[in-house]
């Protein structure tokens, strides 16, 4: 099963590397990883989408926790969350179909961010399945390039996230 794990770690040289090294060294699956600064510039938030049975996920969380640079690890799976990904897509257009592509972009509430005489660049934001859907619809027109940001996730409202490991 897919799990979304949010990791607060030191915003420091090596912290990200150490987490990536741990994942590859232990042979854990990674679907996506994203990292960025938080409200506290000393701390980064890393969002990792990984896959495994309960035993593996328990090890993932424990191994993350064991690293000295990690501060808090939260498994956000099955929590009320807001999950977003951003994708940039460069799509070919022909004489007759530019309007269609722009319509599709609007349906997905995306933006056209670049254009030249061969292709359009679309920016689409949303949960990953929405991005998958947009890609599927645009595929027949010919997609030249895709860049996806990976997931960023926060829990909603007042509901406390299940803190799997907080270093007390």
């Amino acid at each position: 099963m897919q799990h979304i794990i949010s990791v607060l770690c030191e915003n420091q040289f090596g912290a990200f590397n150490r987490i990536v090294t741990m994942f590859s060294g232990k042979g854990f699956n990674v679907h996506s990883m994203s990292i960025g600064e938080t409200e506290n510039p000393e701390i980064s938030r890393m969002t990792i989408v990984t896959e495994g049975d309960d035993k593996i996920i328990e090890q993932v969380v424990k191994q993350l926790n064991r690293l000295i640079d990690t501060i808090k690890i939260v498994d956000l799976t099955e929590q009320a969350i807001v999950q977003r990904e951003l994708a940039l897509l460069t799509v070919f257009y022909q004489k007759g179909n530019r309007g269609e592509i722009i319509d599709i972009c609007e349906i997905f509430r995306g933006n056209i961010v670049d254009i030249n005489n061969k292709n359009l660049m679309l920016e689409i934001t949303g949960p990953p399945d929405k991005i998958d859907a947009a890609i599927n619809v645009l595929m027949p027109y010919g997609i030249k390039e895709i860049a996806r940001s990976g997931n960023v996730v926060l829990k909603r409202g007042e509901q406390a996230a299940k803190v799997v490991h907080e270093k007390e």
Partner: protein, 572 residues
């Protein structure tokens, strides 16, 4: 009024920090990137620098020192090749949770990434084999990083920490501030186990009919041998130990079942197989212990006490985990136990297993055997020596036949299985322990892997007794070839290529003796044990084809144990 503190150079700060950490020895080797440190070292008198002959030797010495004393072992080497030569020792320390701090020189920060002369990304290289590592980018961080390095290496589940020191950082100057306390928000230690879990564990022990304590190196690291002794003694519980656990409970006590696992005793493994309660104390259910997971201790309710949560439910799913310092947990557990379990029948059963298949070897053919040498050594030293073994048959025979009576007495490379460990590690142990004999036991193969460090032992007149159990083979590999690889003795025979070990030792300046006669063993061992003016080498030319029994083949079950070499007639 603000009084300005003294400005100090990075090199001075480095030594001031080592002083505050009470470092007695640094095992090191100089080179370009650390010349400034060596310049200052020249005038340092509060610690002793031990010049090694290869940086791998330095890391194993630091490990030997740390394992024998419980203190942090310290290594200092140059950048590039100096740093990469430490990798095996660091990996070894990581696998066996040994507290060492390795300082590596590095090229100046503005050259990092340029493929500068003697540059290696040692922080990147060692990331998966260190508990933590640091690149010091600014001299202002130096003191606090060194403080953190020692703290991280020695607390919780110990392990190696590497600190990379760029040349310009060492040359820069700043105000010296040694932090009194370490602040690491991502590193919090849990010492006391969960009270309810401990109560539950106590109830289980009281109710158990066939309980067994399975003890690992964690008990020794935590200093919990006294607590273990009381817990086991007062409740008449059988104790079996892992390779790293040997010495945690006295080997001469009747309650000790010896080692379990691949080369464990028949009765310890039968006890594992049949117990109804298995209490794991500071052990990690390593595959050399469990064999096939599906058949491991299937009748037992399992309690697992460990300071490292990642060890729990990693290999074997347990019924009752307790995260905490095993020393504290055992003390708390003992105080919760008010009625003793009824284990009379269980002991009768264990005694029967002991009779069924004792540890023994051929003694009637007049030929010299390793088991005999180790048994005599154990008797002569009354289990009081510090014994440092290498990897292979010599290691397993020592684990089986030497009766360790104290913690920190059995020093060996368990997790990584690093040949070439014993010789340098025994040197580190000899610096740390002066009041007990230090014995280094080796195979003829592994002895040659760090043989250059004999110089270090001779130069410092360390009274180490180096023993080579020379079977003219890479014995353990030969054993597997005989048992599992169609008797193809591919590249394991050394008889034609081995050097004359006595001459080699003499060239290095050691006293050396060699024999192939059982009658010489006791007199030679006695002579060596009485000689304390420097190292001695004893070469015992033993039977070539001997095998370590019992053996449970890799990944197999206890029921697949092989207890002796089968006669060709029996195999028909």
């Amino acid at each position: 009024m603000h009084t300005k503190k003294k400005n100090m150079s990075g090199a001075d700060i480095f030594f001031e920090c080592l002083k505050r950490e009470n470092v007695e020895y640094v095992f090191g080797y100089p080179g370009g990137a650390v010349l400034k440190i060596y310049e200052h070292l020249h005038d340092v008198d509060f610690l002793k620098h031990i010049l090694v002959r290869h940086e791998q030797g330095a890391t194993h010495m630091a490990e030997g020192y740390a394992k024998a004393t419980g203190k942090v072992g310290v290594v200092l080497v140059t950048s590039g090749p100096g740093a990469t030569n430490t990798v095996t020792g660091i990996a070894d320390a990581y696998m066996d949770s040994v507290p060492i701090v390795v300082f590596t020189g590095q090229v100046a920060t503005h050259l990092i990434g340029n493929d500068a002369f003697q540059e290696a990304d040692i922080v990147g290289i060692t990331r998966p084999i260190t508990k933590h590592n640091f690149l010091v980018r600014d001299v202002n961080e130096l003191a606090s990083i060194i403080k953190k390095a020692f703290y991280i290496a020695s607390t919780g589940r110990p392990g190696p920490v590497l600190v990379d020191l760029p040349k310009n950082v060492i040359n820069s100057v700043c105000e010296f501030n040694y932090p009194e306390e370490v602040e690491l928000r991502g590193y919090k230690l849990r010492t006391h186990g969960h009270q309810n879990q401990i109560k539950k564990a106590a109830t289980m022990i009281q109710k158990a009919k066939r309980p067994l304590l399975y003890v690992g190196g964690g008990v020794i690291m935590s200093g919990g041998n006294r607590e273990l002794y009381l817990l086991a003694k007062e409740n008449n519980l059988p104790v079996t130990m892992t390779l790293q656990g040997l010495g945690a409970f006295p080997g001469t006590e009747p309650q000790s079942l010896g080692m379990l696992g691949m080369h464990g005793t028949y009765w310890a493994n039968q006890a594992v197989n049949n117990c109804d309660l298995l209490v794991s104390l500071g052990a990690r259910f390593d595959d050399r212990v469990t064999g096939k997971i599906e058949t491991f201790a299937t009748k037992a309710y399992k309690i697992h006490v460990d300071i490292d949560p990642t060890c729990i439910d990693k290999n074997v799913i347990v019924d009752l985990p307790i995260v905490g310092d095993v020393k504290h947990v055992m003390a708390e557990l003992a105080s919760e136990l008010n009625t003793k379990p009824d284990v009379e029948e269980w002991w009768a059963q264990i005694e029967q297993w002991k009779e069924e298949c004792p540890l023994d070897y051929e003694t009637n053919d007049g030929r010299l055997r390793s088991q005999y040498v180790v048994s005599k050594l154990s008797e002569l030293t009354k289990g009081e020596a510090v014994v440092v073994t290498d990897v292979g048959q010599n290691q397993m025979w020592t684990a089986q036949y030497y009766k360790f009576n104290h913690p920190r007495s059995h020093i060996t490379s368990g997790g990584l299985g690093t040949m070439g460990f014993s010789l340098p590690a025994s040197i580190g142990a000899a610096f740390g322990v002066k009041d007990r004999p230090i014995i280094s036991i080796n195979g003829d193969g592994g002895f040659q892997m760090n043989i250059q460090e004999l110089v270090t032992a001779v130069y410092h007149k360390l009274p180490i007794k180096f023993i080579i159990l020379n079977n003219s083979f890479l014995g353990m590999v030969r054993q597997w070839q005989e048992l599992f690889h169609a008797e193809k003795y591919s590249f394991t025979e050394l008889s034609e290529s081995n050097p004359n070990f006595v001459k080699v030792a003499e060239a290095f300046g050691l006293k050396a003796f060699s024999t192939d006669k059982p009658a010489d063993v006791v007199p030679l061992l006695k002579e060596a044990l009485d000689y304390n003016d420097g190292p001695v080498l004893l070469e015992f030319k033993v039977v070539k084809e001997d095998m370590v029994f019992p053996i449970i083949p890799s990944g197999a079950s206890i029921s697949d144990m092989i207890t002796r070499r089968l006669d060709p007639k029996e195999m028909m």
